[in-house]
Amino acid sequence: MSLINPIRYLSQILFRLLIWCLLTSNFRISNLIIGITISVILPNVRLPNLNLSFMAIELLKTIIAFPKSIKESVDLIFLKNKEEVFVNQRSSVEEDGSQFVNFLDLFRITLTPLSLVTRRKDRKSWRVHTIRDRK
């Protein structure tokens, strides 16, 4: 317990409390106390190799991907000569880096309609299926 970074522990508790409040849609004190108790009782998540400031940037990039996906939907609808290709895209961390950042990276690429991760190409890149305009 003493080895856990306090900021990381606090953010984990806050995240669980947020999900609890959204699920129960009830912000009264009694419900908050139950939520905090459950957040503390649940086992700690172990996320090795996680750099908090790096993760914050990745989270921000993921939030930006939501409006980008609307733009890419419109692009896909108005594409005339569609061509399907596989490309290699550099991943933000290597394969043995933080699992959570790897997941966020995969999520961000797959969320947008024009690109879809199919698997890892090698240690440093994803194999991504995309649709583009035929020249």
């Binding site: 996906s69 896909l76 969320l111 947008t112 879809l116 199919t118 194999r127």
Partner: protein, 87 residues
Amino acid sequence: MLFLSYLLLFVGLFFWIWGTFPLLIKRDSLLYKLHTLTVADTVGSGLILIALIIRDSSHWPILLISIITLTLWNTVFGYLLGNLVDN
């Protein structure tokens, strides 16, 4: 505000119909269908749910959690199916 809600609702419905239609076309590849289903399920449903939040803001927590879970599951299953097709 009601106008914005209607606009998002109809754009979302258009995305739904446009994205689901390629499922019926046999010559499209499975990966292309996954791309169009992303348009329908993630973006279309997200826009419709945002329109519902604007319309009935008292139920925002449950609608917000549906947006989060929809995007999460659609994306994870999209990756899963893409991975299986590529292998």
